[in-house]
Amino acid sequence: MFRLRTHSTDPVTFSFEGRRLTASRGDTIAAALLGSGVFIFRNSPVSSSPRAPFCMIGNCYECFVRVEAMGVVQACLTEITEGMKISKVSNLIDESETGIKESSKR
């Protein structure tokens, strides 16, 4: 999808589904995840089909993620912060499930 972030002058460490990742300070959660090679943000509640950011301006609500101590947020409108614990939102998939198969593809 997007070129992976190789370096950052002002890095922020966070986790997605238990995996430790880094981003640049000031990034949105959506940019942080896409720049780390995460493709699937959640599964739709209707058919469990995989979803990822679509509009990036807060209108499509495809980029919902769960952030510890914040709840479900729009990843494209929320800034990443140090130590943030992020996980997928899904009605059908066990939330305790860790490790994501799509991230191991690259």
Binding site: T28, I40, C55, M56, G58
Partner: protein, 469 residues
């Protein structure tokens, strides 16, 4: 947040060229102005992250283009104007004209609050026109605007296998920006019809009226044609893949082709974001020249409610230059309203604005919405949230469903978290077509507050705060 001052003269919603200009004008003339912005920094979508780019990545300014640099002066003036800026604020409600007092419901960092302005300027800008086709919900399919946002705010660049599809100036601009960053997309699948005589004629007058903009646009198009593999006459698009996009297939000149790719960027022009203005009970109509719903506007930005003005792309698609000009003009109207409590209307139009109008007439004619996306095939999902297909909408229309609002009861179409933002236009068009009436007649979803999700807990906390006052 704004706890210490729940009142102000003017609340401006949105911090793009329209909102920033109007706020600067009014604040400079001594008005108490509050700007509410969903984004984290001023600039709107067009000048997204411009302050950060200027400060941290000056080498990127030239690569993003002259059009982007214009945001620098705009944000600088705004920062010095004295207007209060509140980033990261969602407006989930504007009280209706039935309520005794004008008030805005705000949400920032998870806490809700009311603000009581004397006047509201909506500068909510545009959003990309929906581009439904088979497979458009797959991860790996996103809009050109989304990719451009990632480039401006985070310098994320697509991999070389990226494919662009659709039409519209933004698509060609993004391709030109990629070229300056050294990226050549695998292909541009162009859905634009060939240029009509009328478009050519309008193009000539647009060239006389706005030569700089037209020449810049021609350069983008030249780049797309010469440096990128541009395929013309593309239709019947399909995105394929298991849990992620792996390929895209399309038809042109009677033959089907397929490209392997991990990223497909779609674009089909932009439409006004009318969710706030519709929820505020302002009158709207369907604008057939731009194929979208727009608020009824008189003068610079007067609406059917005296205390609410609308400017910029949220009023009608006009682009950044028009948005800034409208910001200047609306300040006179708002100032007059604040003094007299009656609405005043600016009726004269500057030459610059008339010239921009000529440019827009050409753009509307030369880059019409793609037919395939307007009336998608039965199998295509239209409502991404509730996964309702175009076929299901046609079925309920055939059974006598009167319009989009009744359609909700049958299909749940438009009732997911996006509240219809990504399907409203398509649903109205498909239903109008199925019932043989105009889009204006079939109507639009009724939009009601809260227009952004808000929890009961957040509302309850707000009640507690005001109870303690």
């Amino acid at each position: 947040m704004i706890t210490q001052r729940p009142m102000c003269d003017v609340a401006v919603i949105g911090a793009g060229p329209a909102g920033l200009t109007a706020a600067s004008e009014l604040a400079e003339s001594g008005r108490d102005v509050v700007v509410l912005d969903e984004q984290g920094a001023p600039g709107g979508q067009i000048y997204k992250g411009v302050e950060k780019v200027v400060a941290d990545r000056p080498q990127d300014i030239g690569l993003l283009g002259k059009e982007y640099v214009a945001g620098k002066a705009l944000t600088r003036r705004f920062r010095q104007s004295g207007a209060q800026y509140h980033p990261g604020v969602s407006v989930w409600q504007i009280t209706s004209d039935q309520e005794p007092e004008l008030a805005l419901g705000l949400l920032q960092n998870g806490s809700a609050q009311m603000l009581h302005p004397k006047h509201v300027i909506l500068a909510t800008g545009a959003m990309e026109r929906p581009t439904p086709f088979k497979g458009w919900t797959l991860p790996g399919v996103m809009t050109v605007g989304a990719a451009q946002t990632l480039l401006k705010s985070s310098r994320l660049l697509p991999e070389d296998d990226v494919v662009l599809v659709g039409t519209g100036p933004l698509l060609y601009l993004y391709a030109a920006q990629l070229a300056s960053f050294g990226i050549r997309p695998q292909a541009i699948l162009d859905t634009r019809p060939s240029m009509s005589w009328r478009a050519a004629r309008l193009g000539l007058s647009a060239l006389t009226a706005c030569p700089k903009t037209m020449l810049a646009g021609m350069k983008w198009l030249w780049n797309a044609r010469v440096r990128v593999n541009m395929v013309r006459g593309v239709h019947s698009l399909k995105a394929q893949g298991e849990d992620h996009l792996s390929s895209v297939s399309y038809e042109t000149r009677g033959r089907r082709h397929e490209l392997s790719t991990s990223l497909l960027l779609t674009h089909d022009g932009v439409i006004p974001n009318t969710w706030l203005s519709m929820s505020a009970g302002i009158r709207h109509h369907f604008d057939s020249a731009q194929s979208c719903w727009v608020p009824d506007i008189h003068g610079a930005g007067s609406t059917s409610r005296d205390c609410i003005s609308i400017i910029g792309d949220g009023a009608r698609i006009g682009g950044a230059a028009v948005a800034a000009l409208q910001g200047e003009r609306v300040a006179y109207e708002v100032e007059a309203y604040l003094r007299t409590q009656h609405r005043a209307m600016v009726t004269t139009e500057s030459r610059a604005l008339r010239r921009q109008r000529q440019l827009r007439r050409f753009l509307d004619c030369a880059f019409p919405p793609t037919a395939d996306f307007q009336l998608p095939a039965d199998e295509t999902i239209v409502c991404r949230c509730e996964e309702v297909s175009a076929g299901e909408i046609r079925q309920v229309a055939a059974r006598g469903c009167m319009g989009p609002n009744q359609g909700k009861a049958f299909t749940r179409c438009g009732m997911g978290p996006c509240m219809g933002r990504k399907c409203a236009l398509t649903v109205s068009q498909v239903m109008a077509d199925a019932r043989g009436v105009s889009v204006g007649e079939i109507g639009h979803y009724r939009i009601r507050s809260p227009i952004r999700p808000i929890t009961v807990g957040q509302l309850a906390d707000m009640a507690l705060v005001s109870g303690e006052d």
